[in-house]
Amino acid sequence: MPPLAPRSDAAARSVAREAGAVFAGLGLRRLLIVDGAFAPELSDLAGLEPGVVVRATVEALGADEMVLPLDMAGGDPVAALNTALAADGVVITVAPGVVVERPIHLVFVTTGGTPAATFTRSRLELGSGAVLTLVETHEGPDQSDYQINAALQVDVGDRARLDHVKITGEGAAALHISTLEASTGAGASYRDFGFTIGGAVVRNQLL
């Protein structure tokens, strides 16, 4: 199945390589989502820990999996719009009992000066007893009034532990709306940290 989101061109790729610099040098596993499309060729997918699976959302959709449930966040309008228009994203699964030492860094980057609306849908499933640190950064150019609608669904299994850190560092004229829908199992631990520093209009929903 061909990807729904456009592939990034050479200029976009060079901007993307520099993105997420805030956490450069920390050895995080970088997964790049460039202009709304997962870019495996720019992502660090080598030596994935056993039990960790990373796929593009379009790939999971192609396998007829329910990665885009219609009732995300109880029919919240922003999430519904995301469901209607999401083109790609990342689907990560961690098998039960797997402790992932190296944090995963989702680098969402908007390139180029042409204003565009980008919709991404991502999903993280942590099996029972699994442990993961997930870092998310969002950034783009200051000169462009682009729009981002990013949705992430998180399922933390029984006794699993997730540490989630997100920086909303969009360009000065950008609009950023995000929805995080999380569910935790028995004895699970979910720690979330969010930092909003960029963007003209930002709404972060944790539902």
Binding site: I167, S183, F193, F195, T196, A200, L206
Partner: protein, 164 residues
């Protein structure tokens, strides 16, 4: 955010550093569904110039979620006369054996603290930066990993430097 399993723990810390005409809204719903779950929510906003920070947070305790322990706090620090913060924490409780609390504060930098630092030779902007750092530092401290915490502290310091 649904605490669907018994004894689950959720810890949500959010920080916003806003300037110019930025508008940042955080909407948070923590739904305690199963018994014995615990949640902590701390939201801190530093608002300069004509920026606006909005926080609307709700803790819901469902009928079966006895022994829930939940607390929510929203604090805003206004650095200019035109800065605005709207904070609305809510509790919705349908169980009778729970511990829940919520609160919100909005204010400017403490003049006495600033004077204390300036009286020791620290320039005004630096004194303000130290106080802002202490205010935001509390949410950054919630990050477990040292390396991420240091990187986030640097993000805050860069913001303070740009402000000067």
């Amino acid at each position: 955010m649904k605490l669907a399993g018994e004894g689950a723990i959720a810890d949500v810390h959010q920080g916003s550093l806003l300037a110019g005409r930025q508008h940042a809204d955080t909407t948070l719903v923590v739904d305690h569904v199963a018994a014995g779950s615990q949640s902590r929510e701390v939201f801190k906003a530093v608002v300069d110039d004509e920026a606006r920070a909005v926080f609307q947070g709700r803790i819901t305790v469902q009928p079966g979620a006895q022994q829930t322990d939940a607390r929510m706090m929203a604090r805003a620090l206004l650095l200019s006369d035109e800065a605005v913060a709207n904070c609305k924490p809510e509790l919705e409780i349908f169980a009778d054996d729970v511990q829940c609390g919520h609160g919100t504060t909005t204010g400017a930098l403490d003049d006495q603290l600033k004077f204390y630092l300036m009286a020791r030779g620290i320039p005004e902007k630096e004194a303000e930066a130290l106080l802002i750092q202490a205010f935001v530092g509390e949410v950054i401290d919630a990050v477990a990993r040292d390396d991420l915490r240091e990187a986030l502290t640097q993000v805050m310091l860069n913001w303070l430097e740009e402000r000067e």
